[in-house]
Amino acid sequence: MAEHERSVAEIVTGKLSDDKVPEQVASLVLDAMRASAPEAGAGEGGPSRGPGRVYLKSVSVEGFRGIGPKATLYLTPGPGLTVVTGRNGSGKSSFAEAAELALTGQNKRWEDKTAVWKEGWRNLHEPDPTAIAVQLTEDGEAGPTTVTRDWTAGAVLESANDSVWAGGTERSLADKGWARPLELYRPFLSYAELGALVSGRPSNMHDAMQAILGLDLLTDMEKSLTDERKSAEAEAKAPKNELPMLLAKLAAHPDERARAAEKAIGGRIWDLAALDALALAEDAAGDGQAGLLRQVTAITLPSAESVSAALERLEAARAAVAALAGTKAADARRLAGLLTAAAEHQRSHAGELCPVCGGRVLDEAWAVAAKDSIADLTAQAAEADAASAEEMAAVRTLGQLVPAKPAVLHADLGPSLNPVVASAAWDLWASAVAAMTSVAAPSAGTVPSSQASEVMAAFESLSEAVTALRSSAERELLDRAAAWQPLGRDLAAWSELAGKGDAASVLANDLKKAIDWLRATSREVRNARLAPFARTSAEVWETLRQESNVELGPITLAGAGPQRKVTLDVTVDGVPGAALSVMSQGELHALGLALFLPRATAADSPFGFVVIDDPVQAMDPAKVDGLARVLSSVAETRQVVVFTHDDRLPAALRQLQLPATVLAVTRHERSVVTVRPMSDPVKRYLDDARAMARTESLPEGVRAVAVAGLCRGAIEAACVDVVRSRDLGRGVAHAVVEQSLERASHSLQDMVALALLGATSRAGDVPAELRSLGGSACANAFWDAKTGVHDPRHGDLKRFIEDTEQLTKALRK
């Protein structure tokens, strides 16, 4: 059972690495575990809780169901079998229902019934007050714990006042923490439920078993993974779902980009990169029109100021040229050159006649004058050169101020844009400028300023025309963008969705692997954990079935989701896979009990009791024998309370000499219910002893030995009863009580010492104690019972039995 001791989380983690589960799948499983872990803690019934610590002490009922005035069913806390008999309608089931209702707040028998059924819960004769109370003993609680539910007059079933009293203080039922174990181990089983255990919805049984096996973590993890997978699959499918709508939008859109987008995502493989580019693209590729519009918007003209400045500069330059009109720079330079050459000649031929004209002597005075003239003439030439250079520069500036007419003005710009005006204005401008600049510097006078104003006017009309055209182009471009933008956004959004969808489908695939792996692991773990339960079930069935031709094989939890169920491997006459439908009602009930008992008596359950309402009903006599054996073997370690409407079970127990306490519930008129003891192990021993004593045909010695043995049995039974009642009621741990009983069981004196004085160490005081308790009769009975088996006294057997009875009564007081 090493598998059971490891926590589910450890098993899962270990198996993940053993199975070499791929990284990404394993991390999904671990994530699911982390997500589910906090809740799963409750399901992992740790072994620390220990077995059976809560026992029933009494059930009191007043004004509820078949019971009118208050009636109480007293039970001996601790292991043992109690059979409560009563005719149908005697009110015995009211006790069973009250016990269940008080502890769980509900009753399985009524759960699915109609309102009419539920309304009958108050007693017909004594509907008020209505109260139920269950007294329990608990490990570690000195004194009984009492759980009560009562109803005010007219209150509905669900609105009971519940309270828990333990150790003299009130606690809430929730604090007890019993809700979950009550659900898990269900120590209550009604007749109705007995059949439903097998024939009910298969998923219910599955869930109940699953929960008890402490496998909630696995269920929660699977649920978490399944949810995740569902959403991942939805995410993966989203782009495909939205694609038709997007394609319809694209088809309706005139833009070239829409065509390109259709091409990118219309096929089986989506080109998301292309789609992203299209979503963001300003223009459609190959859209000439947009290009032209953009060229139009790119046209720039100089400012009017710079044009007028250029014109002013040209005018000024021309004015300067005109001012120097008389002094031709070339003549001046040539003359300066001539004079320079003459001056050089004069330096070597000073005083000679001018070689050019021969009339004048080139003397020093001439040389001085010539030098002046040369400087003068050279300056004049430079000035004229500068003026004409400035004019040239001004002309060039003006000419370059406005670029050549762009070709786009000759293009077809569509219906809303007409470049003709701008084009004409441009031509006009060009010709005006040409007219102005082509005119050579006028020989005389000034530049006619009409020309400058014409150029200016041409520029203004050009500027106006270009501005108008450009703004039309801009508007057109904006319109186009506005028409594309929403679709572009749609494309971008869809592209993102598609990108996520790809990731999601990878995730969904991994999740599927994780779920498959987890399911396989769950199957393994749960069937391993189920094995001990299944073994007990098989044993119970084996005892109950009594030669039935139905064999119960391994029990497994199978399937998942809505198909989950408990698989009973039932073979009928050796034919496997036979349906449960071939089983008789009695067999189904027996099988139900076989499934119920292992669960209700699970080691982890805090409840030491099991309450079964009428398991005998549909069973045939042979199964009742089996039932008696099963119940009394369970009763060795548990408190078993069985309600039954007939005498078959008590009879079987009597015949098989299985120890049991039998109580009879009878109902008088007006719902007055009484409980009285019919027989218990002590009484049965005494009855048998009396029968033996009366059998005079036997030799006296034999009778005495037999009677002494039976009397000893009666005293021991009384002691066990006393010790369990007292110690469990004080909160002593069940295991400790059973251990001390086991140790004392080898000596009658130890047994009585334990019951009477609380410890075997005081066994020596027993005779004296007995004498003071009930006189010599008690002491004698003890002595005869103790020694009689080995050394029969030929005394008065009848007297011996009566004394023994008195002793048992005194012990139990």
Binding site: Q546, D620, A622, Q655, A691, T695, P699, A706
Partner: protein, 135 residues
């Protein structure tokens, strides 16, 4: 069905059980629908006779007692064979009711009869050592 001196009987428990077995395995003419009760009766007689023969050797007076007393005494004399008491009790529990015609009680089933048959057969083998041998 009062117990009587076994030596006066000409029939043994084994013979009774063989007859019961025959009833169980094949229909016998003349018994008709009552065969389960007849079969139960045979097994019950076999049980009673088995105990009677046992007591002859160890405590002759016990054979004259009722079955309740016999079953109470049996463990005192079979401490070396503890299984015997259980077998006798279980078989008796079923057979005591089954052999009688109760108004509302149904006849025992074949599987029940087989169980009792098996139990009594086992008991015979456990107690046979103490039987007086007929010469």
């Amino acid at each position: 069905m009062s117990p009587s001196d076994p030596s006066a009987r000409s029939v043994t428990p084994e013979e009774l059980l063989a007859a019961a077995d025959q009833l169980l395995t094949s229909p016998v003419s003349g018994v008709g629908a009552q065969w389960p009760r007849a079969c139960a009766l045979l097994i019950r007689l076999a049980l009673e006779m088995t105990l009677d023969r046992f007591w002859v050797g160890v405590l002759p007076s016990a054979a004259k007692c009722g079955m309740r007393q016999q079953l109470l005494l049996l463990p005192l004399y079979t401490t070396d064979r503890p299984a015997a008491v259980g077998l006798a009790r279980e078989a008796w529990l079923g057979l005591a009711g089954a052999a009688h015609h109760h108004a509302y009680e149904l006849a025992p089933t074949a599987t029940e009869l087989r169980t009792w048959h098996r139990e009594v057969t086992k008991l015979v083998s456990l107690l046979a050592a103490d039987w007086p041998r007929r010469s």
